[in-house]
């Protein structure tokens, strides 16, 4: 009963310890803040220049969430297609893998060419990065559905759509949520890459400008914001995951409803 509390305290202590070590090492070796700023400096910068930073943060979050939403729709649709049809699997999979192997930095200029610099290329880049893990996991989940469970439905003369909605998709949920956690962090990466290359707003743009003027604490402040936003979204999806897929973990809290 107390073991869970102990675990939480231990992990919190470790995380705090990491930052304390960072601070101590910077002080002890006299590392300049232009090389590696101390955590306290980063937080000071963050608070001090918050009014200048927060519109960028909002922009990045907005782009990421929009891209993530589209990524989920696209990913699930493609995943269902790939996972339920042998032909679609054979045709789509090589294309998908080829496409996902392309470095997304290389794609940003093309999007800029088509849509101009700003929000649209950032969203598109984030979509291209985030939909792939969703496709793979949804397809895997559907393709590995136990034939016995499908037989149960077929014996009732269920339609393919009945089977998809009553067996295929629910069974795929644990896979889907596992992929969401990867996809949401990937969406951030995509947004920031595009902002760095072609945008005048967003955390990526802020960090690029800051680094070109050797404002290293501001660069790190940008990184910190990205990390916090990423962790925040990750936590949100983990919580939803526990609610939706507790059956897969045989979670007693889930069972209590």
């Amino acid at each position: 009963m107390n073991s869970q509390a102990n675990r939480r305290i231990a992990s919190a202590a470790l995380i705090i310890g990491f930052f304390v070590m960072w601070e101590v090492i910077c002080l002890a070796f006299g590392i300049k803040d232009i090389v590696l700023p101390r955590p306290t400096q980063i937080i000071y910068t963050l608070v001090d220049r918050f009014p200048a930073i927060w519109p960028h943060a909002v922009q990045t979050l907005y782009e990421t969430l929009v891209a993530f939403a589209f990524g989920i729709v696209l990913g699930v649709a493609l995943g269902v297609l790939v996972g339920s049809s042998r032909l679609a699997y054979d045709v789509t999979y090589p294309l998908l893998i080829g496409f996902s192997s392309i470095p997304k930095v290389a794609v940003v200029p093309i999007f800029v060419l088509w849509f101009g610099a700003g929000t649209v290329p950032a969203i598109l880049t984030a979509i291209t990065l985030s939909f792939f893990p969703i496709v793979v996991n949804v397809a895997t989940g559907l393709a590995t559905t136990e034939p016995e469970l499908e037989d149960v439905m077929k014996a009732m003369k269920a339609t393919k759509l009945d089977i998809l909605f009553n067996v295929g998709l629910p069974r795929t949920m644990p896979y889907f949520f596992a992929s969401l956690k990867v996809a949401v962090t990937q969406a951030f990466v995509g947004t920031v890459i595009a902002e760095t290359v072609a945008s005048n707003r967003g955390i990526g743009n802020l960090m690029m400008i800051a680094s070109s003027s050797f404002d290293v604490p501001l660069v790190f402040a940008g990184l910190l914001i990205l990390a916090v936003l990423g962790v925040g979204l990750y936590v949100i999806f983990s919580l939803i995951e526990v609610r939706v897929t507790g059956w897969a973990r045989r979670n007693d809290e889930f069972a209590l409803g």
Partner: protein, 295 residues
């Protein structure tokens, strides 16, 4: 698809509906799994008729095509040659409600027992059309009543993984019966249970059959189970799969587990066993002797 077209198109299709009215009918059915070199003849020319409301058991060693017959009648697989009719129509086209229970409970782990058992009501017409309206009222009561009948009252909000194997199997039986199927297929549903649970569920099954009177086709390798439950037992042999004996079980109902130790009952199961043992294709002598000894 092509099979259905062949059967319905030319002469044999329509004429079958005027047949003597057997509820399930297999006519010269064969089934082969695989293709070319790796072809396996699961079933050679087999004909079988089951009357409406009857309880028929298929017994035999593994690989004799018991489950193949079940799958053919359910439409899960198509016959390689020959015809399968249910209620006088080509299988798949018949407007008959079918229930099926498998050796594994195959409950959906993300649904409570209530929702699992209610699944057929969500899928199978005519319940399907009323599902949204009645699932919290009439259907719920129906499921609860059936769960209570198999001794699962009060468990409807549990998830399958919170129950024992025997309880899951009971729920699985409920799921195969909730939509009041005219045709019930049981594929070794008690095979994975301990003896006491199994015997208890035989009685439950017998009671369910007497109340709902579906046509039942039970596949099992347990001769005692077949003799306890069925009105008729078809003995099958393997390689190639075929029916070698078809006998009626004369014991009155309701049957009890203690009846299974009476001389008549034992001699019936013994007779069935002899059929199966002697029907084994000849193998190399010492292997047969060694393998046969522990049984």
């Amino acid at each position: 698809m092509s099979l259905a077209a062949v059967a319905i198109g030319p002469a044999p299709g329509p004429s079958t509906s005027s047949r003597s009215g057997a509820f399930v009918e297999l006519e010269n059915v064969t089934h082969t799994y695989g293709q070319g070199e790796r072809k396996v003849h699961a079933l050679t020319e087999t004909s079988l008729r089951i009357e409406k409301g009857d309880f028929v058991a298929l017994v035999g060693p593994s690989g004799c095509g018991k489950s193949t017959i079940l799958k053919l009648v359910t439409g899960l697989i198509n016959a390689s040659t020959g015809y399968v009719f249910v209620a006088g129509r080509q299988v798949g086209a018949e407007p008959v409600r079918v229930g099926m229970a498998f050796q594994n409970p195959t409950l959906l782990p993300w649904l409570t027992l209530l929702d699992n058992v209610m699944l057929p009501l969500k899928i199978v017409p005519p319940y399907r059309q009323q599902y949204r309206k009645k699932r919290r009222g009439e259907f719920r009561d129906k499921v609860e009543a059936l769960l209570a009948q198999v001794g699962l009252a009060g468990f409807s909000n549990k998830y399958p993984w919170q129950l024992s194997g025997g309880m899951m199997q009971r729920a699985s039986l409920c799921r195969s019966l909730i939509h009041e199927p005219q045709l019930l297929m049981l594929d070794e549903p008690f095979g994975a249970l301990d003896q006491f649970t199994r015997e208890e569920l035989w009685s439950v099954m017998q009671e369910l059959w007497t109340t709902h009177r579906p046509t039942v086709l039970l596949v099992t390798h347990d001769l005692k189970e077949a003799a306890f439950l069925a009105n008729r037992i078809c003995v099958m042999a393997a390689r190639p799969g075929r029916i070698i004996d078809d006998s009626v079980v004369p014991f009155p109902r309701p049957r009890t587990v203690s009846m299974t130790y009476e001389p008549d009952f034992v001699s019936l199961t013994h007779k069935l066993r002899e059929f199966i043992v002697h029907a084994q294709p000849p193998k190399i002598a010492p292997v047969t002797a060694a393998a046969g000894a522990p049984q």
